[in-house]
Symmetry: C2
Subunit: 235 residues, 2 copies
Amino acid sequence: MHNQPHDHIVKSYDEEQRRLLDETLRMGEMAASQLEAALDVVQRRDDNAAARIIENDEAIDTLEQEISHDVMKLALRGPMARDLREILAAIRIASDIERIGDYAANVAKRSTALNLAPPLPQISGLQSIGKLAVQQLRDVLVAYRDNDVDAARAVRDRDADLDAAYTALFRELLTYMMEDARSITPCTHLLFMAKNIERIGDHATNIAENVWFLVRGNDELPPREKRDESNTVAP
Amino acid sequence: MHNQPHDHIVKSYDEEQRRLLDETLRMGEMAASQLEAALDVVQRRDDNAAARIIENDEAIDTLEQEISHDVMKLALRGPMARDLREILAAIRIASDIERIGDYAANVAKRSTALNLAPPLPQISGLQSIGKLAVQQLRDVLVAYRDNDVDAARAVRDRDADLDAAYTALFRELLTYMMEDARSITPCTHLLFMAKNIERIGDHATNIAENVWFLVRGNDELPPREKRDESNTVAP
């Protein structure tokens, strides 16, 4: 009795599942664009554009709600193991993308605080790690679309590069703050913006792990390298 | 055909669902204890205890895996709408608790970096927001156990207090850094530890929203107040 669909016009399970994948990919692309736009407003010091990015984050949140709704509808049909993994992967990946959107909006939000002080030279370092994060996100979305576990694993492994670049920027910012007390507040914003980007990398890694789970089920992924050492930098 | 259970000995759906709730609550209590332990090692400057907390985080991660597995088993039985909400809520709540565990471990990790410098007076501010966060987490777990939407909503609303306390501590730390350049590195660790705790509050809020969703379905929660203004502090 649980398998009766509730809609009058019933789409095939495959059609609904395809729709779920498309929505999730679209959500991912929105988050990637938001992150690019956020990096751009940091560079251009454009408060109005920053406000638009913050506003746009709502569209990503709305899409996550729609995906949750579609997941519920699909799960009500009582899917089999592989189909269920599709559903679970979609809901987890949507949740990671939602967080990425939040972090992108946060970068935009802090940019407006940065614009109250003179430009900082470390902005270029932020741009570099930001570009790495955008690439990681785009690559993992392609891996998800293509069910490509090797590409997913490559994304997961490249997160170490992003962590290393983040740690280097973190140290550079601390040194700069020690040399010039007036830079402390803007540099603190930059530290958090850099951390937001490093976290976006972690969420891209989560997505990669979900692509692995989707294709391979509970086979274990080989352990990964970790290189974010900023949280053990000696005072 | 999708409703055939795969196990030879079949537990009742209700028993399995009860087990899922119990596991999720146990996971939540583990995260609350980890956070308390992390706050304690910050106070006592105990590197060995910090290492144990970081290690213990694995148990929370393992429990999340088990919960995902149980969710899959339950979803394969083709649950009805309310049961499906239980399942979706459990998997989302487990994911929030997993993140809370990560943040607690991060607080412990950064404490060992802090211990290389003389103690900072702002530790007491960190303890205060930490205690608020522990309380929020414990309260929302009770709300989840009892399906208590009013309690969940109260937790959600109290997050504004945690945000306000975090913002105050953030400003205090910036001022301190400006007065004494030697404090910059340890204060930066404290800033991130405070941010971790503020994020734990956000995850408690997410859990509260899931309790609401579980009981009320897609009825909208009334909008909430936001008081974390640290990301717009002027340089």
